[in-house]
Subunit: 337 residues, 6 copies
C-alpha cells in the first residue's frame, strides 16, 4: 500500500523574471529547480508517499542546489548520480491576459543525458518499490536514454510495479515522428499513460472528430490508445485557455474500461500554470495507489492540478487535505483562521 | 463632532510571503503591524478623525517598530503601555483562485494580555473622547481582559461616549460557547455591534432561515441582536466568495429601527482582503459620527471595505475623497493624471 | 519604405511602488524611463523600424541613465541634447479593482523645456527621415516649445515627411482652452492625429451625440477633426474601463475618407496600462508606413495596445510576430515551448 | 529641562540604489525622507526629547509619505505646512573604497521654498519651547527664507530659547560669498554654531594655519568665530577620510571659553555616512540641554555620529543607551543576546 | 568511523532585516531556520557525516518550513517530533563597525519545550550512532528537559557513544546560578565540552588570572573543567572583537591531557558571525571522529569557524575542501575559476 | 585619434546571488551580461571612445537581452551576429574575508563558438577602425576560432590598426600547453599584450626568479615576452590578495623599451573584483591611443582597475574624470555634493 514510488527523469534549473516582467527587462531571475517527474513526485510526497528520484546532476554547487531543493520538499535523492558539467536549464516568462507565457530551453548535453544504468542496474533502485514513472521528456532529451528507460520498465514490470508515463510532448525537443517512433516501443511496457488529444492525433495518429465536444474526443483518444498499446489507464487533460490569466481545466480518466470525467474548474487568476499537468499525473497515481474508484481518482487529480495554478514554481505544494477540501466543494477562497 | 475616538485592542506583527508564495517557500517575509481596532482606527485617521490606541507592546525594538508603524499612519500612541516579552504575531499566506488564504496565529502570552488598567484607570484615556471601540479578539486572547473591557465600556458610557464592538470571531482563539458567554456580558454595554450572520447563529443562537436571501437573513439577525442586547446599531457584512481572487461584498446597517442595505461590489482582483471588515466598521463609525443617514453611512462603509481589497497590508490607506468617489459611482479604474 | 522616424518629446523618469502598493507605503520605487513619443518609438524599433529621439536630458547620471534606457531598447539617441538641471519625473501608483491608478507629476522646469533648435535647426535631424511625430505634451510642458514644434513640422513637410501628433491631453499640464489654442495652430501642419472623443469635444468643440454608441461618436469626431484641420488620418481610441483590473479596448481609424473599426479586446488582468495609447499610435504609424489597408492598420495598432497592458513599464516590448499572432486570433495564452 | 525643541528646515526625498550600485545601474531606488534638521531632530527624539519640525511639504501622496516618515520616528509634524507642487529630492550613490559617494540635487522650487510665516508667525510654534535650530541649507535653498529665519531667531531669543545653527555648507546650493553674506546677518542671532575648518576659512575668512594639527586648527577657528559673532558654543567636526569605506571621526566643542576635544573613532566599515554631521549636532544640543560638561557633551555627540555611520538612511536610529555604552568604551561589536 | 551523529536541541526561526538595517526600519525580514545543534550538524553533513536531529516543531506550515530547511541541507529529520503551537523565534539585527549586533528572543513555550522521550525513549534514536551532542540552550529553555537530556546522555554512554556539549550560555535564557546547577549534574555524563573563559568563571567558578594572556587563561580553564567533571576534551574559543565588522578568532583544544592552540585568523569583514561557535564545535567533533591529532583538529575547527563569518545565515555551508584549503594557507581570497 | 576600436570575443550571461550569499542558498540570481572584451570596451566607451563588438548571440530573448545590455552602456552592436541556441553563462559567488569567490562555467557550445567570418570577412568590421582587441578566452572556448582571430589580426595589421590581446588565462577552459600552442601562433600578430607573471611562466616558459620582488619579476617577464614575440607593449598586473575583501593592486607597463610601474592601491573593501583586469587593459589602450607617456598610461589603467573593485557587475562604469581624480590623488572618499 505505501510502497515507494520511483521516478526517472531530468532535473532542471528554471529561471524566470519576477511577476510578469519580460526576459529582456529582467535584472534578476527567480530560481526554481524542477523536472516533470520531480514535480509529480513532490506532489506525491506532500500527500504522504515516499518518492525516489533517479537522475543525474553535476557535482558542483548548482547540481547541489538542485539536489537540496529536492530534499527540501521531501524527495529521496539517494539515487541521483553526480557527474557531467551542466544542469539543463530553461528561461520562463510568465504571460498575462493576451500575452502568452514563453519558455526558452537550454538543456542540450546536460548532466542527465549522461545517465548510465550500467553500474548499478535497476535492482537497488526498484527494490521494494510499487510504482515506476517517467515522462516523454526523459527520452526526448537524448536518444541514448530510450533503452535505459526500456530496461527500467522491464525491470519494474518483472518486480510487479505499475509503470506510468506522461507523454509531456515538447515540440522544441523532438518532432512528432521522433516521439512516435520512440514511444511506440516504450508504451507496451506501460500501464498508465497521460496524453492530450492533440498529441494523440499528431504523434500516434489517433482519429479525432473535431466536431465533437472535447470530452468525447478525449474518450475516443483514450480508447484508441488503450486498445493499441494495451494500456490499463489513460488520462487525458482538457485545458481551455481563454487567456494567459484565466483557464478552464478538467480531465478524463479511462481506467480498465471505465470512463470518468472530472468536474470543470474555472481558474480566474493563474499565478503559475507550469507543473499543473504534473500535478494531475500525481493525483491519478495517488488515486490508483489508494485503490480509489476512477471518478474519485480523476476528481482528486484535477483538483490538485487546479490548485497548482495558484502556487509559484513548478511544485504543487498543496496538502491532501487542501485537495480533498476542494473536491468536497470548498473553493470559495475564504481565509482559514 | 470631532471628538477623539478611543480603541482598545491588541497590536500584532503580521508576516507574509511576497505575492502568492506559500509559507514553506518563503525566504523572506513582509512585515506589517496590525490589529482589528488599529485597522479601523487607521481608516478613521485617513478620513480626518483623531484616534487613540489603548494597548500594550514590549519595550524592545519589535514593540517600538509596531508603535512607529501606528504613528506613521497617524494613530495616537500615547496610551500604549510598554512591557511584556513578546508581540503577538501571525503568519499569513495569501490565496489565489481556488486556494484559500491561511493564517497561523502565534499570539499566546503576548504583551497585550498583560494590559492593566489598575494604575491609570480610564479617566485620562477617555477624557474628551466621543467614541470607544473594541473587538471581540481583545477579550478572546485572554480571559483576564474581559473585566478590563467591561470597566472601559462602563466608564465610556458614564462619560457619554458611544460604545462599539466588532465581534471579529476567530475560532482559533475561542469556541462559540466561550465567545457567547463573554460577549453576552459585554453587549449590554455596547451601542453599535458588528456581527456576521453565521456567527450570530453559532454564538448567540440567532434564528436564521437558510432558505431566505442573505440580506433578509441579515435583517433578521440584526433585529434579534438589537432586541436582545438593546443595541442601537447593528452592522451585518455580507461577503460572497467566488474564489480567493474575486469576491462580492455588501453589508446591512440596522440603525435605530431603520434598515439600510448597501449596493453590492464585484471585486474582480483581490490584492489583500485582510482588514476589509475593519474598514467597514470604520466607515460605519465615521458615518454615525458625521450624523449621516443609515443609507449614506452603510454605502460609505462598504465602499471603504471594497477599496481595502486593493491595498496591501491590513490598513485601509484610502482617503475620504476616494471612498466618496466610489460611492458616487466612479469605480471604473481610470488613471488619475 | 524603411526611412527613419523622428520623434520629438520629453523624456521622463517614472517611479512607482512594486505591485499594487500605494505611494505612502513604498520604501523602494521601481525605475523606468519613459515619454509618450519614446514609448511609441520603442514599439516601432521592436517591429524593425529605425527611430531617432529628439529631446534634452541633464548632463548628469540621471540624464545618462535615461539615455542608456533609450539605447537599451534600440532608440537612436544621437539627437538628444544634454543640459539643464533636472529630468522631469512622475510618481505612479498602480490601481486594482475599484481603486484607480494615480500619477503625480513633477516635471516643471525640466531639462526638456530648455530644448533649443537655434543651433542646429532641423536639417540634420530630419535628413533622410520619412516620418515626424510629436505629442501634445511636448508643447504642453512649456509654451516656448510650440514655435519649436511648428518649425519642425514645417521643415518636415518641406522634406516630404509625414507628420503625426498624439494629442495625449493631460489636464494637469494645461487647460482645454490652452490646449485648443496651441493645437489649432499646429494641426494644419499635421497629417495624422490621435484624439479621444471626450478631448475632441472639450478642446476642439467637436459635436458629440451622447446617445450614440461609442464607435459612432468616434466616427463623427474623426470626420469633424479631419474636415476642420485637413487631416489625412485620425485615430480615435475607445477604452471601456470596467475597473482598474479589467478593460475593454478598441479603436477607430479614419484614413483618407475610409473608416475602419477594430475588433474589441477584453483584457481580464492589467499588469500596466500606461503606454497603451502610445502603442496604438505606434501601431498605426507602422501600418501607414507599411502601406496597409486601414483595417489591417487599426487591427495591428489595437492588438499592440492590447498586449501593452501585459508588460510592466511604459514600453511595449512586444515583437511584430506577437502582435500579428494576436491579430490572427491566438490570444488564448498557451505556453510557448 | 524637557522643553520642546523646534527645528526649521527643508524636508527632502532621498533616492538611492541598493548597496553600492551606481545610479546608471539602478532599476529600483530606496526611499528615505530626510533633511539636516529632521535628521538631528530624529536623533533627539530617540534620546527622549520632544522635537517639532517646521517646514512645508506638498499636499499630495509624496508630501504625505514624507510627513508619515517623520511621524514614524516620533517627530511632531503639527507645524508642517501643506502646499506647493513638489518635494525637493536628491539622488544618492554610495561610494566604496576609492570611489566617492555622490549626490545629485533636484530641490529647486520645492514646496519648502514657499514656506510663509505670515499667517501664524512664530508664537504658536515656539510656545513652551526651549531650543530653536536651523541649518544653513534652510536659507541656501531660497533667498526669501533668510528674513523668515531671522524673524524666527529673534522670536526665539525673545522667548529665552537657545538658538543653534549648523552651517551645513553645500557648494551646489550657493557660493561661499553668498553663504557668507547671509550667514553674517544671522549668526549674531545664534548661540551655538557648527562649522568645519575649511568652510570657516572659505566663507568667514577665518585664519587657518595649514601647518598645525587639525584639532589646533579647529580651536583657532572656534575662537575666531565665537569672538566675531558672539557665539557661546562652536562645534568643529574633524573627519579624516581614508576612503569611502573607512573614516576617522572626532570633533571639538568650544563652550563658553572652554575647549573639549573628543576621542577619535576609527570606523572600519561605513554603511551610510549621510547624516553623521547631523547626529553630532544633535548630540551637542542634547548635552547642552542636559547641562553636561563640554567634554561629556562632545563625547556623546561624537559617539552618536560614529554610530550613525552604521545605520542605513539619514536618521540616527540609535538609543541613548547605545551612545553611552560606546562612550563608556564598549565598541567591540559583540552580539547582545 | 562513519557512524551517525545524533543531536538534541531546539530548532528556531531567525528573522533579520537585510544588510545592516535596524529592526525598526525593516519592512521585510529574511527567514532562516537554525539552532545551535542544527548549525553544528549542518556543518558536519557538509563534510560527509550523517547527522540526525532530535527535536520538536509544530505541525503547521512554519514547523514544516523549518523541517524542510533542515532536509535541504542534508540533516536527517526522522526523529523530529511534530506538535505544539509555536516555533521559537528570534529577531536578529546585524551590527557594523561600532554598532553591535542584537538578538531579541521570543522562544518561550515553544514546541521544543514539549519534547517527550516517554514514548520512544532513546533506543531507536541512538541505534547505530557514534556520537551524541547537545547544547546548554537545550536545557536552558525549559527545566523539564534537563532529565530528558540526562537520560539521553546515559543511554548514549551505555551504547558507547561519545557525548559532547556546547555550553552556549545565553544570559537572556537563564542566570549563571541556574546554568551552573543544571550543568553540574549533566557534565559528568559528557566527554567533550565547549566553554568560554568568562562563562567558566561566572558559571563554574573557574579561577582566572586576568593578568595572563587569553590563551593561557584558556589552558587554565580547560584543565580545571577537565579535572572537575572528568572531561576528556575541552574546547575554549577565543574571540577578540575589535568591532562588529572585524574580529580575531582562534581556539584551544585540551584533549586527553594534550594542549593545542590554533593559529589566529584576522577576519576583516564579517558577513554574519552567528553560528561561528557552532562551526568550531562541529570542526572539533569532526576531527575527533576522524581520529586526528589535537592540533589538526583544532586548526580544522577554527578554520571552519573563520569561514562561517563569510556565510549569511547560521549554517556553515562550507565544504571540507574549503576548510582544508584555508588550513593549508590559502586564505588570500582569489577567485576560483 | 578618435578612431573606432573593434573587439572580438564572447558575450556571456553572469548569474550571481545577491551580496555574499552562496549559490546553494540563492533563490534569486542577479543578471549581468559580460565578456572580457565587452568589459574593456564598456570602459573605453565611458571615456569617450567608440567601440564595436564582434560576437555572436542567439536569436532569442536572452540573446536580445545581452545585446540590449551592450547597447545600454553605449557599445556598438552592429557586428554582433545572431544565431546558435544558447548564450554561454557562468555562475558567480562573491567571496568575503577568507572565503574565495567562485565561478562555475557553463559556456560550452555557446552561440559564440559558431561565429563565422566567412560571409563578411573583416573588411566592413575594420573599416575606419584604429585598434583591434581580443582576449585569450575568445580562442580558448573553441579551437575553430583561432584561425578566425588570426585572420582578423592580419586584416587589422594590413589596415594599420594596433592589435592587442589580453591573455586572460582560465584553467577551466584550456591547459597551459593548449594555451601556449595557440597563443604562440597569434602573438606575432599582436602589438600589445597583457599577461600575469605566473601565466607567463606556466604557459610561455618565462624565467621567473621567485626570490625577487613582484615588480622586478614583472619587468623580467615583460622583457622576455616582448623579445620573444616582438611585442611593443606588455602589461603585467600585480595583485596582492590579502583576503577576498581587501587587495592591493598595481601594474607594470613595458612600452617600446620603457618601463613604468604604477603606484599601489590598497583596496579595503571589494564590492566586485570581476572585470578589474579588463579595466586595466582598457586604461592602457586608452593611454596608448591618447599618445600618453607610459607612466601616465599605466597610472590611468591602474586607477581605473582600482575603481572597478567598487562597482557591482563586470563593467567599469566610471568616468574619465573619476579616474583622473583618483590619479591626481583624491581617493579619500568624500561625498560629492
Amino acid at each position: 500500500m505505501s510502497k515507494r514510488i520511483v521516478m526517472f527523469g531530468e532535473l532542471l534549473l528554471r529561471l524566470n523574471p519576477e511577476g510578469f516582467g519580460r526576459l529582456v527587462q529582467a535584472d534578476r531571475l527567480q530560481v526554481y529547480y524542477t523536472g516533470g517527474e520531480a514535480n509529480a513526485g513532490a506532489a506525491l510526497v506532500h500527500w504522504g508517499r515516499e518518492v525516489s528520484l533517479v537522475s543525474r546532476v553535476p557535482d558542483h554547487e548548482i547540481g547541489q542546489a538542485c539536489l537540496n531543493y529536492m530534499r527540501r520538499y521531501g524527495l529521496d535523492t539517494r539515487f541521483i548520480q553526480r557527474g557531467g558539467d551542466r544542469l539543463g536549464l530553461f528561461y520562463l516568462e510568465t504571460g498575462a491576459s493576451q500575452r502568452q507565457s514563453k519558455i526558452i530551453y537550454d538543456r542540450r548535453d546536460s548532466a542527465f543525458t549522461g545517465y548510465s544504468d550500467e553500474a548499478g542496474g535497476w535492482d537497488e533502485v526498484l527494490a521494494g518499490a510499487g510504482w515506476f514513472h517517467f515522462a516523454g521528456t526523459a527520452v526526448a532529451v537524448a536518444g541514448r536514454l530510450a533503452p535505459v528507460v526500456a530496461r527500467a520498465c522491464r525491470a519494474a514490470r518483472e518486480r510487479g510495479l505499475v509503470v506510468s508515463c506522461d507523454l509531456n510532448y515538447r515540440r522544441k525537443l523532438w518532432t512528432p515522428a521522433q516521439a512516435g517512433e520512440t514511444m511506440r516501443e516504450l508504451l507496451p511496457l506501460v500501464d498508465a499513460f497521460v496524453c492530450g488529444v492533440e498529441d494523440a492525433g499528431a504523434i500516434f495518429g489517433a482519429t479525432i472528430d473535431p466536431g465533437r465536444p472535447g470530452s468525447e474526443q478525449a474518450v475516443d483518444v483514450a480508447r484508441q490508445l488503450a486498445a493499441r498499446f494495451g494500456l490499463k489507464h489513460v488520462v487525458v487533460p482538457l485545458r481551455d485557455s481563454q487567456s494567459a490569466t484565466a483557464n478552464r481545466f478538467r480531465a478524463l480518466l479511462f481506467s480498465q474500461g471505465q470512463i470518468a470525467v472530472s468536474r470543470t474548474y474555472e481558474i480566474p487568476y493563474i499565478v503559475d500554470r507550469v507543473g499543473a499537468g504534473d500535478a494531475l499525473t500525481a493525483g491519478v497515481i495517488f488515486g490508483l495507489l489508494e485503490g480509489w474508484e476512477p471518478q474519485r481518482t480523476i476528481e482528486f487529480g484535477v483538483a490538485a492540478a487546479c490548485l497548482k495554478h495558484s502556487v509559484p514554481g513548478d511544485f504543487n505544494l498543496v496538502s491532501r487535505e487542501e485537495v480533498e477540501a476542494l473536491v468536497a466543494g470548498d473553493g470559495a477562497g475564504r481565509i482559514q483562521r
